[in-house]
């Protein structure tokens, strides 16, 4: 088992009720599978499965099909961005 640090932002952080979480899992794992794992472990985790939730792996935008490996330091989940 490996540990993956996961961080949340904006409305997703508020809904989940925490800004970060460390999940123990077997790697490699896809972002999509990680979402489902977190949805089961976190009380409000189903928010992660809603349409439009975006992700990043080590500060680069990621897709559900992208892989989280042992080398990854941080995965983030967040709603669509609204800057500018």
């Amino acid at each position: 088992m490996s540990k993956v640090r996961v961080v949340f932002f904006a409305s997703l952080k508020e809904r989940i009720g925490q800004s970060e979480y460390v999940v123990e899992t077997t790697l490699p794992l896809s972002i999509g599978d990680l979402k489902h794992l977190l949805a089961r472990q976190l009380s409000q985790g189903s928010a992660l499965l809603e349409k439009g939730i975006q992700s990043s792996i080590d500060f680069e935008f990621a897709r559900d099909s992208d892989t989280v490996t042992e080398l990854v330091k941080e995965v983030a989940f967040f709603p669509p961005v609204t800057g500018g």
Partner: protein
């Protein structure tokens, strides 16, 4: 230059930074501001801008690199504020200097379009005790489509 900061910025100082002696033929600049979003008095409306330290700066650098790859630019300057903001405050500055106006205008427009949809910032509006996160606008994605090859 790319800056993500709480402090306000001075357009005149940023403009001077963009000028390259003997080379600059055009400077295009865009400033985004907080506008009134309800009928309540100004002081009742507040904005909070959240970002993802480490990722946001990287997103902006990627966008600026892409602009530099598409057009011959002399310099690019992006400043985006975070934290608490009020109505009429400046939020974002994008400035581009080039030899000619066409590339300066286009690159400035391109950078703002990508910044809206591909940089980790989130806006929250509040009025008194009520607050809500701003939802992404479909038009921003449509606007991005203009730049697809």
């Amino acid at each position: 230059m790319i800056l993500v900061q709480e402090e306000d910025f001075h357009v005149d100082a940023l403009y001077k930074r963009l000028l390259k002696a003997n080379e600059t033929g055009a400077v295009a600049m865009f400033v985004g501001l907080v506008r009134q979003f309800s009928d309540l008095p100004n002081e009742a409306c507040q904005f909070e801008l959240e970002h993802y330290p480490g990722m946001t700066e990287r997103n902006l650098q990627t966008i600026v690199d892409e602009a530099n790859a598409r057009w011959p630019l002399l310099d690019v300057c992006v400043v985006h504020r975070v934290g608490r903001l009020s109505v009429d405050d400046q939020i974002v500055f994008v400035g581009v200097s080039a030899a000619h106006r066409a590339e300066a205008f286009q690159a400035c427009d391109f950078i703002m379009d990508y910044l809206k949809s591909r940089a980790a910032f989130w806006k929250k509006e509040s009025q008194g005790a009520n607050s809500h996160w701003v939802e992404a606008n479909d038009r921003d994605e449509v606007s991005l489509a203009r730049w697809k090859p």
